[in-house]
Symmetry: C2
Subunit: 392 residues, 2 copies
């Protein structure tokens, strides 16, 4: 066993680059979070004053953070989970039985399917408009819900909408979705992995039953952590306490929440989420600036021969997918094949484009300074021109 690789890997970090991978942008730690990390890195460091439940710890202020985070989201209560996927799984585990149906959008993240599969449920998809905009047809939730009910005699156990999807960065109509679900009597879960921590979600009306987010994707926190927010009426179902009892020992744990597996996220992820929280509260107010920055980025990218932004126009989110047939043609004739683009970008201090990928690319300039965005645009323009593509 060569243990030296575990002594060396830290030196090979990519942190000095501008990373335009959309999954990375919202999880970059704040300076405050970095400081918190060093103080609370040790395994159970937040548990010094625990009296039995993580979410009730007063020092550090975890209990208060749960209240403030719920207020920030406009929801009644929250729990921190090991990621958005665990939050979805907890809700599905509580609400869905074997063979139940969940209705979800056809852009839903793969973890929506995997979480459903783990609890034995099936998924029925709501269509989108297809190429090039791929807008989820939110109105069709009504039809799909009706169809499920007709076929099975029961309504779906849950409906889920991906607020902003991870493929095209389209912003779906959450309020319309919740209205339809409420009318049909189906609990509504809004997957906000790409919106929580970026956009102000506190004014949604009507409120979804559940709102799920990601700490490492959107709240400037260490992985792995997520957020499960809910309306108060679901507390007894989704956060029910344990009812098992040891038949020999007589032990029981009525205060431990079954779907959370007791306590959830100690240490680094929760302290970084808390330390970054003032910054996150402040940055959601600047969301419109981010959208403007993204639109400028799209405009500049589309000056490159063949580049076309996919998904809704104009953009209402920083995650952008481009068709890039020009780069694909270059790749076909390049000795490095599709890797040329990755390598050319890296030479210019930019990473985050899937290595080898040139048919389409995904990128985000969220949280970058204007100078950085200009540098990214200049790099793409240069690479295009150096490889014989026109920049208008």
């Amino acid at each position: 066993m060569n243990l030296d690789r575990y002594r060396d890997f830290v030196r090979e970090t990519e942190r000095k680059y501008i990373n335009v991978n959309p999954i990375q942008r919202g999880g970059v730690l704040t300076p405050e979070a970095r400081k918190a990390l060093l103080e609370f890195g040790d395994g159970y460091s937040v548990c010094d004053f625990c009296e039995g439940l993580l979410h009730e710890i007063e020092k550090p202020p975890i209990r208060q953070f749960h209240e403030d985070l719920a207020e920030f989201l406009g929801m009644d209560l929250v729990r921190i989970t090991a990621g958005a996927r665990y939050a979805k799984e907890a809700v599905m585990s509580a609400l869905c039985g074997e063979g139940d149906v969940i209705v979800a959008d056809s852009l839903a993240h793969y973890t929506t399917f995997i979480a459903a599969e783990k609890v034995g449920a099936m998924v029925r998809e709501v269509p989108n408009t297809g190429h090039p905009e791929y807008r989820v047809k939110v109105d069709e939730y009504a039809r799909v819900i009706d169809e499920v009910e007709e076929e099975r005699g029961d309504p779906p156990a849950l409906a889920l909408l991906t607020h902003v999807d991870s493929e095209y960065g389209n912003l779906a109509d959450a309020e319309r979705f919740v209205k339809i679900c409420r009318k049909k009597g189906v609990p509504a879960l809004l997957n906000c992995a790409y919106t929580m921590g970026r956009m102000d979600l506190s004014n949604l009306s009507p409120k979804p039953d559940f709102m799920v987010g990601s700490g490492h994707k959107g709240m400037a926190a260490c992985a792995p952590c997520g957020v499960l927010a809910m309306r108060g009426e679901w507390e007894e179902v989704v956060l029910r306490g344990s009812s098992l009892r040891g038949d020999v020992s007589g032990r029981e744990w009525p205060h431990k929440e079954v779907e959370m597996l007791g306590c959830t996220v100690m240490g680094a992820p929760i302290v970084t989420m808390m330390a970054s929280f003032p910054h996150v509260v402040e940055r959601v107010r600047r969301w419109e600036e981010e959208v403007e920055k993204t639109r400028w980025f799209v405009k500049e990218m589309e000056r490159i021969e063949g580049v076309r932004q996919l998904g809704e126009r104009p953009k209402r989110h920083d995650l952008v997918k481009f068709e890039t047939p020009g780069f694909q043609e270059v790749a076909n004739n390049h000795p490095k094949r599709g890797y040329f683009l990755y390598k050319e970008l890296k030479k210019r201090g930019i990473i985050g484009i899937q290595p080898g990928q040139t048919e389409t690319i995904k990128a985000s300039v969220y949280g970058l300074t204007d100078e950085q965005v200009e540098h990214v645009v200049r790099a793409f323009h240069e690479i295009a021109e150096e490889h014989g593509l026109e920049v208008s």
Copy 2:
């Protein structure tokens, strides 16, 4: 919303103290892990070179780490989970149906029950010898398994033994347990939350079907992370790929492991686990020194009037529980009640004793230097004498 509390809490750290809480000792980060933390704190920082599966990432060396960790444990393969509880839940979710029975020791951690409850299973306990040693009667797994089979016509879906329990720190006979389970045809899970990363587990014979551990409890890693190790024959059951397919989108994810919810632990926990791994490999070789240190600590503590170590004698693990009726009597007559002990220890630079608790106390001196252990002992002796208890 007072956001200043999230700006201040880091300054109020308890890290400068000696922490004798047994859940804390094995999760103290190494200097190498602290360095890794700062480089890889950002949300998805390990995912720069991901081609679709976290456990196959080559840089940082996550794929190789999975192989090396399996070798270190003497098991066929491992996955990193969000904690030992998630590892148990994954196995139970794969192996147990609604109403199935899991046989577990009567000292099992509460998360064994909660994980069982989450998947709809029931738990039957194997007795222990009771006060003062509380040794699990491992031979009785045979009887309880037989009883379950007799009552239900089917054997239990799983048997679980807590290798070292969190209450008394008793080391249970894992090999005897596995032999019984194998003979009865029941899959055997060994919960090594308190042994993995402390003791060499590579020579167990026969091997359990599953071995579960904790990164933040025993492998000098950030929370939340755990280890699920298994024999190869279970791969297809517990690590099965997704078989759902989007009925509209046609998407499918056959390589994403359902029980893992796809990828598991990115960022801080896994990089700290990897950065600490060379140290952990080395420290398990020094386990006997730790046991000697613990026995000396017990001997010195028992010099205090009324103090008696609970659990097996002599100790074979660093987690120690003491009966402390003398401290309890002091508390009954002290203006600070049970908090006097906590406060007196803290004055001397020691934390980790449950505040308010004096009837029994739990402590560990794992990983402390001889000077630190002497300081802890001296503090207890002083506090005892200052409050009228004899120290022999």
